[in-house]
């Protein structure tokens, strides 16, 4: 161990450097691994007369969160799903997000209660927890069952699909000023699934637009715009041709718009919308659309900022249910190889946190992800880099200097270091878990990165 190699002074210098670079969480974890109780004594000596008991009390308050943990459902999914779900769990734990995950997997057999590979228990879990995170699910090929996504949508009554699309600084595409949200009606429209053959060679497909569904999604769009400080909502349609269907959709949007006079409302024909998006995407703010246009436009916008691997998404259901999901595929060709990009699932997790009003942690994690991608040193293969999933995750954790309760931000490096030690020990005492579990819970791999950075291993 380091203790045997460095003198006390040298060790302190290393620790000082680490804490100055603000990776003190990593530092404390490193110290746990290497020095355990000796570190606490060491730290106590460093700060001299400061009483350890008061520090311990303040730390106990800072580290031991008084909020009751929230239970959320997690569907890791298939293919690369489990790997990226692991990333999310690590990042959330290190950021101190008070979430306990209930994991559910797609079963290999059809559950007769749901007529699908999704079990009744998993659906009940989402209904109970009201919030969930879903990885990519591959619909098994075959007949006689509904697609998994369709099952989720119908059973949980997920009526709005929300996708924020913004240019990621540091990942360059042809468009660098994109900052829009697409809100898509998710239950009806052209995807009602009502098709039939009239005569041989003639097929008819029904498109249904109801007042209730259109009002519901318009309400959500304006509510979202208001709560996220957005200024404009654009309804996308083809009502000049489809007067009765898209016309009804527009009428409902207009009704809701009247209730939000501070938000500008406009209507844009789908042709113009496509043209404007590829010529000047900064013209748009919030877009609300029926099902088919929403499908196409939200994917188009994802393409503007870098593809589905970076796009978060959240499905909103009745009674405040929110199921965030990564919309990319399960990529079976790179599954299990530690090559997948967890960004989409992480950003979707951030959306979930915002829905839960855990805005501080959401902002912390979001900044960490953005900064890591902007820095450009750790990028997965799909972004043109060569990092593994685990490297990228580690980079996010050690990159952020703000994974700490805001009350501690004004502490000096020495104080931070001591607090980290004491906090770690206090939470160990409070939770009555072993050092190993404490370290494991917070992600001890971070300490390895710190050691590497200073050339110790």
């Amino acid at each position: 161990t380091l203790r045997s190699v460095l003198t006390e002074e040298e060790t302190f210098t290393v620790l000082q450097n680490i804490s100055d670079s603000n990776s003190f969480v990593a530092a404390s974890l490193w110290c746990f691994e290497e020095m355990t109780m000796a570190a606490a004594t060491f730290a106590k000596r460093l700060i001299g007369s400061r009483s350890s008991s008061t520090t311990a009390t303040s730390v106990a308050r800072a580290f031991c969160s008084s909020t009751t943990p929230i239970t959320a459902t997690m569907f890791p999914g298939d293919g690369i799903g489990p790997e990226i779900a692991e990333s999310v769990k690590q990042v959330f734990t290190t950021a101190g997000v008070p979430i306990n995950w209930e994991e559910h997997y797609v079963s290999a057999e059809i559950d007769p209660r749901t007529q699908s590979f999704l079990t009744w228990e998993s659906l009940e879990s989402v209904r109970r927890n009201k919030v969930g995170l879903k990885g990519p699910m591959a619909t098994p090929i075959g007949k006689g069952h509904r697609s998994l996504n369709l099952t989720l949508r119908k059973e949980l009554n997920l009526y709005a699909n929300v996708r924020p699309c913004y240019s990621l600084p540091g990942y360059k595409t042809r468009y660098d000023d994109v900052n829009l949200i697409t809100i898509r009606e998710n239950t009806e429209g052209e995807y009602s699934g009502l098709e039939h053959q009239v005569v041989r060679g003639v097929v008819e497909s029904l498109k249904i637009i109801t007042r209730q569904a259109s009002l519901r999604v318009a309400e959500y769009a304006f509510h979202y715009a208001k709560t996220h400080g957005r200024e404009r909502v654009s309804a996308i349609h083809k009502a000049n041709i489809m007067q009765k269907t898209d016309g009804l959709f527009l009428k409902c949007c207009r009704e809701v718009a009247e209730k939000y006079p501070e938000i500008t409302y406009e209507e844009v024909v789908i042709d113009n919308c496509c043209m404007m998006l590829v010529k000047n995407p900064a013209l748009f703010d919030v877009l609300v659309m029926p099902n088919l246009y929403g499908d196409i436009i939200s994917d188009l916008c994802a393409g503007l900022v870098g593809g589905l691997g970076l796009t978060p998404s959240c499905n909103i259901g009745e009674d405040g249910v929110a199921l965030a999901e990564a919309v990319h595929g399960s990529a079976p060709d790179i599954a299990g190889k530690n090559l997948a990009n967890p960004t989409a699932l992480l950003l979707s997790g951030v959306m979930m946190l915002r829905h839960l009003k855990l805005n501080e942690q959401a902002e912390q994690i979001h900044s960490a992800i953005i900064n890591t991608i902007a820095e450009g040193k750790y990028r997965t293969a799909d972004l043109g880099g060569s990092s593994t999933t685990t490297d990228f995750t580690k980079a996010i954790l050690t990159h952020s200097s703000i994974f700490l309760p805001s009350s501690m931000k004004s502490f000096s490096p020495k104080e931070k270091l001591v607090t980290a030690f004491m906090g770690g020990f206090t939470s160990q005492l409070v939770k009555e878990i072993s050092i190993e579990e404490c370290v494991k819970e917070a992600g001890c791999y971070a300490s390895n990165v710190v050691l590497q950075r200073f050339g110790c291993i």
């Binding site: 009239v198 060679g201 097929v203 489809m242 007067q243 009428k251 789908i270 503007l304």
Partner: protein, 217 residues
């Protein structure tokens, strides 16, 4: 695909019903036109754009027709792409597409997206072809269509319609005239001296037209 021209309002104002119709006859017809066009214009690939994973019967019928026609043109590569993926690919890597054949609604979106990427409503030509007649007009339906203010200020871009008329000349079997017109227009654009507002310049409509005439050989 008839464009939802049969609509009904049921239950007063609470339900809008639209019907999309796809027929084998029309799908075959457009697929044949696409492949024939590709063949005559030395195009290498035809891509069918669809949403058959959701609209299994309707777009399924469309795809079936395309596949049947594709068999008769073994020299031309044929592939299929789902419309949402297609739009994403268009904005990221448009060079992968050659000839695209689509049903009515998707075609509208794809044409406008592609036109936007290539330069906008003001430059992209287009045409509508039937068994007995053909009408040529600008390719993208978005934007300045019918905007009086642009007409009054003489800022409209004539390039789209000029290129469309070149397409018409080609259709009428006057390839040399078509070539001359197209070359002149392309030269004017590439020189960059005479451009209307939508291309970032200051010229009026008439100035662009004069420049094209000057370049005609």
């Amino acid at each position: 695909m008839l464009w939802c021209d049969m609509e009904a309002s049921l239950n007063l104002l609470n339900l809008g019903l639209g019907r999309m119709v796809i027929t084998k006859f029309c799908s075959e017809r457009i697929a044949k036109y696409a492949f024939e066009y590709a063949y005559l214009n030395n195009r290498k690939k035809v891509t069918a754009v669809h949403k058959a994973n959701i609209m299994k019967l309707a777009d399924g019928l469309f795809l079936e027709s395309c596949r049947e026609v594709a068999k008769k043109y073994p020299g031309i590569t044929y592939n299929e792409i789902i419309v949402d993926n297609c739009c994403m690919q268009l904005v990221a890597k448009p060079e992968q597409f050659d000839v695209m054949v689509t049903p009515n609604l998707y075609g509208n979106l794809v044409a406008n997206t592609a036109a936007g990427i290539a330069g906008g409503t003001g430059v992209m030509p287009g045409g509508n072809v039937g068994a007995d007649h053909a009408v040529f007009e600008q390719g993208a339906s978005a934007g300045n269509v019918g905007k009086d203010s642009i007409v009054r200020k003489n800022k409209a871009n004539p390039v789209a319609l000029l290129l469309s008329s070149a397409m018409m000349l080609r259709h009428l079997q006057f390839p040399s005239f078509a070539d001359r017109l197209e070359t002149a227009v392309k030269r004017v654009i590439s020189e960059g001296k005479c451009r209307t507002k939508d291309l970032g310049g200051q010229s009026t409509t008439q100035e662009v037209v004069d420049a094209v005439i000057a370049k005609l050989e």
